[in-house]
């Protein structure tokens, strides 16, 4: 069955960092320090993404990586295939229905999720609907209390 690893998480963080920087080059160390990621693993991930044409590298003292691919044309499924090829090849053959049906449904969903919608500022969701709080009227000299905490608990979702 599908699962996301830290590799996927860190790859998305790195892509978001590079996307925010536009055409500027960022080193693996810079990204690792900004987000407290393990440098060795990040370097391996970026090397892999470079090999796949998602990022391009620049050598030298001020070397590093910058985005190459158009993230609107790449899906989360594409990224997972690059990072976790075993998830979608050999494991699927060992699954039996109904998990096999679910597996392919998930793959279809992942194919619909564009990387641009996950990592680009102005495109990704910053506050999910479930996180919008409804606060009780402020009492005198007290902080407002949450009625239910969030919309999902309120039964809206």
């Amino acid at each position: 069955m599908l699962s996301f690893t830290k590799k996927t998480d860190y790859a998305l963080i790195a892509l978001a960092y590079l996307a925010q920087r536009g055409g500027a080059v960022s080193s693996a160390r810079e990204i690792a320090e900004a987000h407290q990621l393990p440098l060795a693993l990040l370097m391996k991930i970026l090397k892999g993404l470079h090999h796949q044409g998602v990022v391009q590298s620049a050598r030298g003292t001020h070397g590093g990586y910058k985005l190459k691919a158009d993230l609107q044309l790449l899906s989360l499924y594409d990224l997972l295939c690059m990072l976790e090829p075993d998830q979608f090849a050999s494991r699927a053959r060992r699954l039996e229905t109904p998990l096999l049906a679910l597996h392919y449904k998930l793959i279809r969903f992942l194919g619909d999720v564009k990387l641009s919608d996950l990592v680009l500022p102005g495109r990704r969701i910053d506050v999910p609907l479930e996180a919008v709080r409804i606060c009780e009227p402020r009492k005198v000299q007290n902080e407002p209390e949450e009625r239910t905490g969030d919309l999902s608990a309120a039964g809206v979702l």
Binding site: I13, P121, R124, P128, L129, P137, P144
Partner: protein, 111 residues
């Protein structure tokens, strides 16, 4: 520059106010930033029944009254809040001209 809502975002907020049976005249959308997240700050949205406080900026965007405390306003002025309902889910997108970097999780930024 004021904080604004897109038409879609304003429509969604009004819809929530109606669904939750909140008093339309008294309800405000409080927008703010809070410390935390892997990149320093994160955005927050609350529906509150409050009048403008001494330290608040108040704005109106497409009929939704917005409150923002002065500290948050330093980071949020000029932001347009949009609403998306797509494969990735439903939620609000902050198009913030002041954000200089963001984290991959999408929920925090630095300025």
């Amino acid at each position: 520059m004021p904080i604004t809502l897109s038409e879609t975002a304003a429509k969604e907020i009004k819809s929530i106010i109606q669904d939750q049976q909140l008093p339309e005249e008294k309800t405000r959308l409080r927008v703010g930033v809070k410390g935390g997240g892997c990149s320093g700050f994160s955005y927050m949205l609350d529906l509150v029944e409050e009048d403008r406080g001494e330290s608040d900026e108040e704005m109106d965007s497409h009929g939704v009254k917005i409150l923002c405390d002065m500290k948050s306003y330093l980071y949020l002025n000029g932001t347009e809040i949009d609403f998306k309902d797509e494969v990735m889910g439903r939620g609000f997108v902050f198009k913030n001209p002041n954000a200089t970097s963001s984290c991959g999780c999408g929920s925090s930024f630095t300025a």
